[in-house]
């Protein structure tokens, strides 16, 4: 197959592969066959990258297992500190025992939980903390209720535009959709709780500007 015909045939072949359409057998030489196989395999890897787990909040199994943080109930930092003291346990011991149970928790995480009330710790992890310390989980949490800011924040996080921004962020930061959504939610939370009157469109526009600015700094630049 000559060069021009090969370029057109390769496009057709890749299109068919991407769209899972049948293809007629092609008469390819070795190098063409090798390239076709390499590029279709690469297309499969890209496809797999887009078909991992959804964000935790959109995952019904995660919800069932208590992995979706409940913004209305926070892990009470002061109660945790007191409970650890009463149990005669230090922060690194708690981190180690949680790690033994399969949780990816470092000592610095426990320090952070003690320093401030945390709404990002999922109920299942609060339960594990309570089990390790030997406390009722209700005694380790505090009711944060639903403020106007929190409602606005959750409304933004539930939009399709937010999800699209999270996907762009995931590609930029080379991370999972889940972690990307969490990172953007943290930025949203920072702006919402700064005391300004929350506005859905403004918050989304602000996130869009952030993501676009970072995209324009690509390729190959770290954004940390």
């Amino acid at each position: 197959m000559n060069e021009d015909r090969w370029e057109a045939a390769l496009e057709e072949l890749l299109d068919a592969h991407i769209r899972a359409l049948p293809t007629a057998p092609l008469n390819l030489d070795n190098s063409q066959q090798t390239e076709a196989e390499a590029l279709t395999a690469l297309a499969d890897l890209l496809w797999e990258e887009a078909h991992g787990a959804p964000p935790v909040k959109d995952d019904p199994v995660a919800a069932m297992l208590g992995l979706v943080p409940d913004s209305s109930r926070a892990l009470d930092g002061k109660a945790l500190r007191n409970a650890l003291r009463a149990a005669g346990m230090n922060v690194s011991e708690l981190a180690r025992k949680l790690s033994d149970r399969g949780w990816e928790v470092a000592t610095r995480d426990v320090f952070s939980w003690q320093a401030r009330d945390s709404t990002t710790v999922p109920p299942a992890l609060i339960q594990a903390i309570a089990d390790v310390i030997g406390r009722d989980p209700d005694r380790l949490t505090i009711d944060r209720g639903q403020s106007q800011s929190q409602r606005a924040f959750e409304a933004v996080a539930a939009t399709a535009r937010f999800r699209e921004l999270a996907e762009r962020w995931a590609r930029l930061r080379r991370t999972s959709a889940d972690l990307a959504a969490a990172a953007l939610e943290a930025r949203l939370a920072a702006s919402v709780f700064r005391g300004t009157r929350p506005d859905t469109d403004q918050m989304l526009a602000s996130l869009e500007a952030l993501v676009t600015a970072l995209e324009q700094r690509e390729p190959g630049e770290s954004h940390d």
Partner: protein
């Protein structure tokens, strides 16, 4: 590999859910049913919770294997069901060498997929858009073309160019897709 006590299911799921979704989607993709990956993951977890396997040395292998069988069940629904699917405890009774090989393959693919994700940065914005929206997310070609203000055949050309650039960028990493 020494036996470890069963950790929290929530912790296990948090750690391995991405692998479970990927495996389910991959199995179901050939039948154009990748969107049912969530059903396979849900069914696998329900089975594992109902009858937790014992003597587990590698939970990732067990969970990935469980979801693979459930995805196959979905493909075979209406036809004869695979007997293993009715016995979740047997998920870990597969030949340990096979399980180890499955996990090794999974790890290799995840590594390769991670490199592809990294290398998307070598593409310009428009080719990256085509790579992600058309190739990875399988969005309809006319939609992607309209977003870029080009013709659908041009999207196909850009997809080929993007894959070639990615392939070239991956060569120094020694990663074969």
């Amino acid at each position: 590999m020494s036996e470890v006590p069963p950790p929290d299911w929530a912790a296990l799921y948090q750690k391995h859910r991405d692998a479970m979704y990927r495996v389910a989607a991959r199995v179901l993709r050939e039948a154009g049913r990748a969107a049912e990956a969530e059903d396979a993951v849900m069914a696998a977890m329900e089975s594992l919770l109902k009858s937790p396997p014992s003597g587990v040395t590698c939970w990732e292998a067990v969970m990935v294997n469980a979801v693979r069988w459930r995805a196959l069940d979905i493909l075979n629904s209406g036809a004869a069901r695979h007997s293993v699917s009715e016995d979740p405890a047997s998920y870990d009774q597969q030949d340990p060498m096979d399980l180890a090989s499955d996990v090794a393959e999974l790890v290799d693919r995840r590594r390769a997929a991670g490199v592809v994700r990294d290398k998307l940065a070598v593409l310009d914005e428009r080719h990256r858009h085509v790579a992600w929206e058309y190739i990875a997310r399988e969005r309809p070609r006319p939609e992607v073309a309209a977003e870029l203000g080009v013709t659908p055949p041009r999207v196909s050309q850009m997809a080929k160019e993007a894959l070639r650039q990615l392939h070239k960028a991956m060569e120094p990493e020694g990663v074969r897709p």
